[in-house]
């Protein structure tokens, strides 16, 4: 009796599942199409970058990166520009997210919209805007030359351009996190006698650290890979203002494929590392958000 019932239930379950299943052909067809697209668009080019870079063997690869002083310079320049831009945007992002999520002030929604502007403006246009401001023919150009300050065609210009393009990353990451967490813990810290810095270091920062790190990682990836805006303000002075992406392009134009792909592989490697860290951090921030959004109330015993 029991057995019979069990079987019928299983049959019912089986039937129920079958009605919701697509035909085998559709399943396999769709899976294959997806795999094909990913292979052609992502996997093959990605593998090819490394294949081309290592085509001449590991020693040649190393030579292409280090022996060419211009290439080495571009790597060092990127390693200097990107962190500086990241630090600038870290400070800006924190301040902006703080202002937007913790205060009501006129122009609050305007600020929120402005933060997104660099996402919608073409990087080339961003570069041109900087030229218009700081270039020789620009508004501040003559004054800067008088005081012997160089911004365009030198490192400060590269940093400014990178900052502009990566402006939204940290703030965009932090705003939802800080909104979900809410100001209550910070107010509690103040009520317990903490001053502003104590509140920030002991309460705010530990709560947002994963979101912040995530924003920084994304910002860094974009800063290292930035091409358009930097292209305009750099003036392509080989060995002086060429960052890694600019160097890749120049080597490619000079038909130095192994050299070009060697630098490209380094950039790709950075991207892959970023991706892995991003996935790990995403999991962390998701947990953090879920924790913050969780209803505070859980029924339980009082004593």
């Amino acid at each position: 009796m029991h057995n019979a019932k069990h079987t019928s239930a299983a049959q019912q379950f089986g039937m129920h599942r079958a009605t919701h299943r697509d035909p085998k052909l559709v399943q396999w067809g769709l899976t294959l199409a997806a795999l094909l697209t990913i292979s052609v668009l992502i996997v093959i080019p990605l593998v090819n970058v490394f294949y081309q870079a290592f085509a001449g063997g590991l020693p040649t690869y190393w030579e292409n990166l280090v022996r060419d002083s211009d290439t080495l310079n571009s790597i060092l320049l990127t390693l200097a520009v990107a962190p500086l831009a990241v630090v600038a945007n870290l400070v800006f992002g924190l301040a902006a997210a703080w202002a937007i999520t913790r205060f009501q002030f006129p122009g609050r929604s305007l600020l929120t919209a402005l933060i997104d502007l660099p996402f919608s403006v073409s990087p080339v246009v961003a570069g041109l805007m900087l030229m218009l401001l700081f270039g020789l023919q620009g508004y501040f150009g003559p004054w800067l030359q008088e005081h012997n300050w160089k911004i365009i065609f030198s490192t400060p210009g590269l940093i400014l351009a990178t900052c502009f393009v990566t402006l939204p990353f940290v703030a965009r990451e932090l705003i939802p996190v800080m909104e979900a967490i809410g100001p209550e813990e910070e107010i509690a810290a103040i009520s317990l006698g903490a001053d502003g810095w104590q509140m920030f270091w002991r309460v705010t920062l530990p709560n947002i650290k994963w979101g912040l790190l995530y924003g920084v990682i994304l910002c860094n990836a974009r800063a290292m890979g930035e091409f358009g805006a930097v292209y305009v303000v750099s003036g392509h002075i080989t060995g002086r203002t060429d960052t890694m992406p600019l160097r890749v392009e120049k080597l490619f134009q000079e038909y130095n494929n192994p050299g070009s792909f060697a630098v490209a592989s380094l950039l790709t490697l950075l991207a892959l590392v970023t991706l892995i860290v991003k996935v790990l951090l995403e999991r962390k921030t998701r947990l953090e958000l879920a924790e913050a959004a969780r209803v505070v109330h859980t029924p339980g015993e009082a004593s």
């Binding site: 810290a189 317990l192 006698g193 903490a194 505070v296 029924p299 339980g300 009082a302």
Partner: protein
Amino acid sequence: MSISVKNITKRFGDFTALDNVSVEVPTGSLLALLGPSGSGKTTLLRIIAGLEIADSGSVLCQDEDVTHHSARQRNVGFVFQHYALFRHMNVFENVAFGMRVRKQPKKLISERVRELLHLVRLEGLERRYPAQLSGGQRQRIALARALAIQPKVLLLDEPFGALDAKVRQELRNWLRRLHDEIHTTSVFVTHDQEEAFEVADKVVVMNQGRVEQAGAPHEVFERPANPFVMDFLGNVNVFHGRVQNGRALVGGLEVDCPEYPHQESRPATMYVRPHELEIEHSPNGAASLKARVERINSAGSIAKVFLLAVEFPVGLNVEISPERYGELGLKAGDTVYVSPRKVRVFVPEYVI
């Protein structure tokens, strides 16, 4: 440490949250700010704590004017409605926070935290995180954290608002006992009149940014100052009638109203609590209303009878004891006579 709040006004844009509010909290007392949401009670509490700045008026602690002191200088303990425990700190660190930011010696901190966890009966949970605690436990940790800074005043914002009924009741009794033990001057905000009456020494009823009435719980309940207080403090039957020559009239019901001895007839409102109405099978000579029994709810410690007046369309809520209910043998459809034992008549302000 006593607190006096003097003529506090606070506006948020066009909205007046507090309108010239004054409240006295005697030393060592437990005071309840009672009112519906939007009455300004939480804003007042936050102004006392220094978390909000009043537009005008002053806050005095004992005799010291603390209006312009920061939250840190005021040294008040604040317990938040949703606890606001630091989620990334364990229980020990949460309770220790106020002492850590004051740079107190480690040994003193751990001693005091242990003491406080004993006081709130949560010893052994030092290493737990807020997410691992029940609602009631979190609320008590929030209280221990507020007490750790040895506050001059303890402020609690809807302390039991987010808890379920049973835990609420237990924590309520526990808070009262705790207060009797430590005697810290305390103010708590609630919208639950039962909670206010059960726990507080003094109740301040607020509405739309004003204080409607302040006094001991029984005073406020027995002698409500105005219709709002009457209405807010529990169920009430409302009758609209007229007053003249010290008598109030509603349908066939006539009661004394010595507050209005004038000859001119004026509209007035009568308020009678459900337990102040009596049901009889026949008119007993006293002023009474003829009514029909509509519905009876006899589950619980009292029997609730819903009636409809026969002569004019007004519903009546009456509460009688189960014994009385048994005596009367009421059932739906019966015609009975309802007479009030006690009536409050409010004559609207005379406006010229």
